[in-house]
Amino acid sequence: MNRYISNTEEQRERMLKEIGFDSPDMLFKDIPEDIRLNRSLMLPGPLTEMELSCHMKRLAGKNIESGGYSCFLGAGAYDHYIPSVIAHILNRSEFYTSYTPYQPEISQGTLQAIFEFQTMICELTGMDVANASVYDGATAMAEAANMACKITRKEKVVVMRTVNPQYRKTLKAYAGFKGYEILEADYQEGTTNLSDLESLLSAETAAVIVQNPNFFGSLEEVAKIADLKAKYQVLLIICVDPVSLGLFKTPEEQGADIVVGEGQALGNPMSFGGPYLGFFAAKDKYLRQMPGRIVGQTVDRNGEPGFTLTMQTREQHIRREKAASNICSNQALNALAATVYLTLMGKQGLREAAYQSLQKAHYGYNKLIETDCFRPGFTKPFFKEFTVRSEIPLDRLNHDLLKEGIIGGYALEKDYPELKGFWLVAVTEKRTKGEIDELAEKVVEIR
């Protein structure tokens, strides 16, 4: 007997008898004989809790985790501080064992938390409406491109080559199979080449997608990109680092129509790439084309305020093939983590996390340049991530640093063959001066 199944053998027999069956095999009589498995699945187990626990610890022990290391690797996943409270709230089983809040009367907890999340995303981005989350930053961007094509009834989207390569790859799959065309605008000195961008724009362009700070960590000249909007009647989609918004101007002030991004940095661990949190916000007038769930405030039959899922005629379970998207499950628990994070950090804390990341990244940049092992990479203004050009082969550098307890930066050549030796280094508020100094020292030793 398995401990997750309560019924005893005697109860089973009683139930079978009650429904008029002699054996459990009769339950499956509608399954044609020739497709029955008639053998046991070849799987390991069963393991008891103690055995499982040992096995899992052994597996986890084969990974290098950031706890014992100082992490200077970012490139889309960041080692920011995660307050202890978050795990405790997420561990409340009324939150994590509940389903999508389709029955609002017994889901007010989830619904109110999402309403608060939507508000926070609007506050950070300056947008009018936000949804309850999508899978991650990459799919948020792909959904935004689809939405822009539907709004404008045009089928071309221009994306900057400075956008996260994984996001662009996702965008290409989503758009390509749908039948939309994706064009890529090149960069110069680490930010978008505006004349190349303009050469790709036409009356058929639905939207322009820019990431700010971009994949290289550099700040894009978004104002100049936004200036092109009116001339070509395009929508501007901005992908942002939410932590940067503690310090930086909102995408709304920069001319965004749709804002998307990766919310992992808001209280979610790196977890080998997931689950993360795609956030999605837009101007009011595009509400009805937005993908994903949205929570609204209303009243109950006694006139008391309450929350419910709303604007559901956009969604697949109502509109089927005409829905704004196929998304159903989202990242509700990760959105809850972000909501608790933004609550704890609040106005001052988010600003301070952003401020310290900015200061420490700049300190780190200067330290690395001082070692003489690096030349400057791109020299545009940056937030928490920057590039330097290494004389030392990056594979060897990262390998040797790891042995010293340091997780080194990202080799941009993997995605940009022309950027040989470019090292993308992330410094969050978690890194100490000591850790940054040690990085510089070890680099000198390794050389």
Binding site: Y4, S6, Q11, F28, D30, L37, S40, L41, M42, L43, P44, G45, S53, N63, I64, E65, G67, V85, A87, E94, F95, Y96, T97, S98, T100, P101, Q103, E105, I106, S107, G109, E116, Q118, M120, E123, F177, L219, G246, F248, K249, G273, T298, V299, R301, E304, T310, Q316, H317, R320, A323, C328, S329, N330, N334, L336, T343, K347, G349, E352, L358
Partner: protein, 487 residues
């Protein structure tokens, strides 16, 4: 009751965090960041303490109902018990603290787990390889349909653009098909709840890309003609897609691969016990037969020379459907579940799920109409048509169930059945719980006749009464406005 929003609990200057002092020499911001980038108006985030935060969210959690509170028989959602040890192991630092861009040699544990999960799920479904990248069921559908399209294009049959979906299908099926530019054609269900074979045959043409099926169907019935169906589609040059939402009925008993399916997605957050989290994160692995393996998303995890590696060199791949490798922590929980259960445990789970459903169906069919009176699989569909005749909707019945402390079934789905109620008790519910639920539903059926107002005004014992969803749409309030604070 204190139902304030967190923003309304904010006190200027209060803090719920502490960061160490900035220990690097600070530069003036304007020296490093051009002025035009700097934010002037601060975001209206709450300013509350740690205690306030914990109390606020603890209060909210108490307004929710989860599997740990009681029976949650939502059809097609498989709300089984979420084992606690799986939560613990998924939170090991050696999993949560791992950066996804570390070299293969530094993440052998993560890669081994993903590789083995591919093996396990391939064995369970009868597929050749599985990608764990999709983040949810609908996302798995999308990836699967992209592969279907890529496969046809590769074979010079890019003109195939029609996909068949039964009238009982999940809404995500047609919606996912539309996302890859397919035209959706609906096939009807016959009087036994199977796909109407003669209609299906008439639909065959050179333009058919494939069919999407859930088996058991959303009516909770095993498709008796499944082999004929896959045969008809294959002969027409199409592919057969398996929506794995209902796999909980058949683990170790039959496999989609053996039924003739070419592409399969699974919902780890249904069949493999990972929690739904109030709407996510889920995980929707997608598997394929041998001919489709080249089209799987990148990277595929391989085992080579004693090392687990990420293989990106796959020229025919559809690319990516998201960043990194999937909802990893969710996959860890499902992996732990499979190891705990083993082959016999999984088979036992399916058998018990089917027995529990048949038992509950048997008990309820006296009081509620059973539109398809067959042996059901892990779920079954009742109709509240008789109750509707006396002015009681299934929504009223659902809301009344809350008063008795159990979660309602899925209602108004499948669309094909009028006043549908779809029950899925799952294998983790005991006989006593199911008997109690049956009694409650019988009592509600009696109340519908004797005291209909009790149902129409339900629920009575929940944190809020029935909500005005029409008003929520007509006068959308989708966020809190900072200016409200001043009032």
């Amino acid at each position: 009751m204190n139902r304030k929003l967190i923003f309304e609990k904010s006190i200027k200057g209060r803090k719920g965090y502490a960061l160490p002092e900035c220990d690097v020499p600070a530069q003036a911001i304007e020296d490093i960041i051009p002025k035009e980038y700097i934010r002037i108006e601060e975001p209206e985030l709450p300013e509350v303490g740690e205690v306030d935060t914990v109390r606020h969210f603890t209060l909210l959690s108490g307004l929710n109902y989860g599997v740990d509170n009681g029976l949650y028989p939502l059809g097609s959602c498989t709300m089984k018990y979420n084992p606690k040890i799986n939560e613990d192991v998924s939170r090991l630092d050696g999993f949560t603290g791992v950066h996804p861009d570390l070299p293969d040699s530094a993440v052998q544990g993560c890669l081994e787990l993903l590789y083995k999960m591919d093996l396990f799920l391939s064995e369970i479904t009868g597929m050749e390889r599985i990608s764990l990248q999709p983040a949810a069921g609908a996302h798995g559908e999308l990836a699967g349909l992209m592969m279907m399209k890529a496969f046809h294009q590769y074979h010079g049959e890019g003109h195939r653009n029609k996909i068949i979906v039964p009238d009982s299908a999940h809404g995500t099926n047609p919606a996912s098909a539309a996302m890859v530019g397919y035209e959706v054609i609906e096939v009807k269900t016959d009087s036994r709840g199977n796909v109407d074979l003669s209609e299906l045959k008439k639909m065959m043409s050179g333009g058919i890309a494939g069919i999407m099926l859930t088996n058991p169907s959303t009516l909770g019935l095993f498709e008796e003609n499944i082999c004929e169906i896959t045969d008809i589609i294959h002969k027409a040059g199409g592919l057969v897609y398996y929506d794995g939402a209902n796999l909980n009925a058949i683990m170790g008993i039959t496999r989609p691969g053996d039924m003739g399916f070419d592409i399969v997605h699974l919902n780890l957050h249904k069949t493999f016990s990972t929690p739904h989290g109030g709407g996510g994160p889920g995980s929707g692995p997608v598997g394929v037969k041998k001919d489709l393996v080249p089209f799987l998303p990148v990277p595929l995890i391989q085992y080579k020379d004693g090392q687990y590696i990420r293989d990106y060199d796959r020229p025919l791949s559809i690319g990516r459907v998201r960043s990194y490798f999937g909802n990893f922590s969710v996959i860890v929980k499902a992996y732990a579940y499979i190891l705990t259960m083993g082959a016999e445990g999984l088979r036992h789970a399916s058998e018990t799920a089917v027995l529990n459903a048949n038992y509950l169906m048997h008990k309820l069919k006296k009081n509620y109409e059973l539109p398809y009176d067959r042996t059901c699989m892990h779920e079954f569909v009742l109709s509240g048509r008789h109750q509707k005749d006396i002015g009681i909707t299934v929504l009223d019945i659902a809301k009344r169930m809350m008063d008795y402390g159990i979660h309602p079934p899925t209602v108004y789905f499948p669309l094909k059945v009028k006043e549908a109620m779809m029950f899925e008790p799952t294998e983790t519910e005991s006989l006593e719980t199911i008997d109690e639920a049956a009694e409650i539903l019988m009592r509600i059926a009696a109340e519908a006749e004797e005291n209909p107002e009790l149902l129409k005004e339900a629920p009575h014992r929940t944190p809020v009464a029935r909500l005005d969803e029409v008003r929520a749409v007509r006068e959308p309030v989708l966020k809190w406005h900072a200016k409200n604070k001043e009032k």
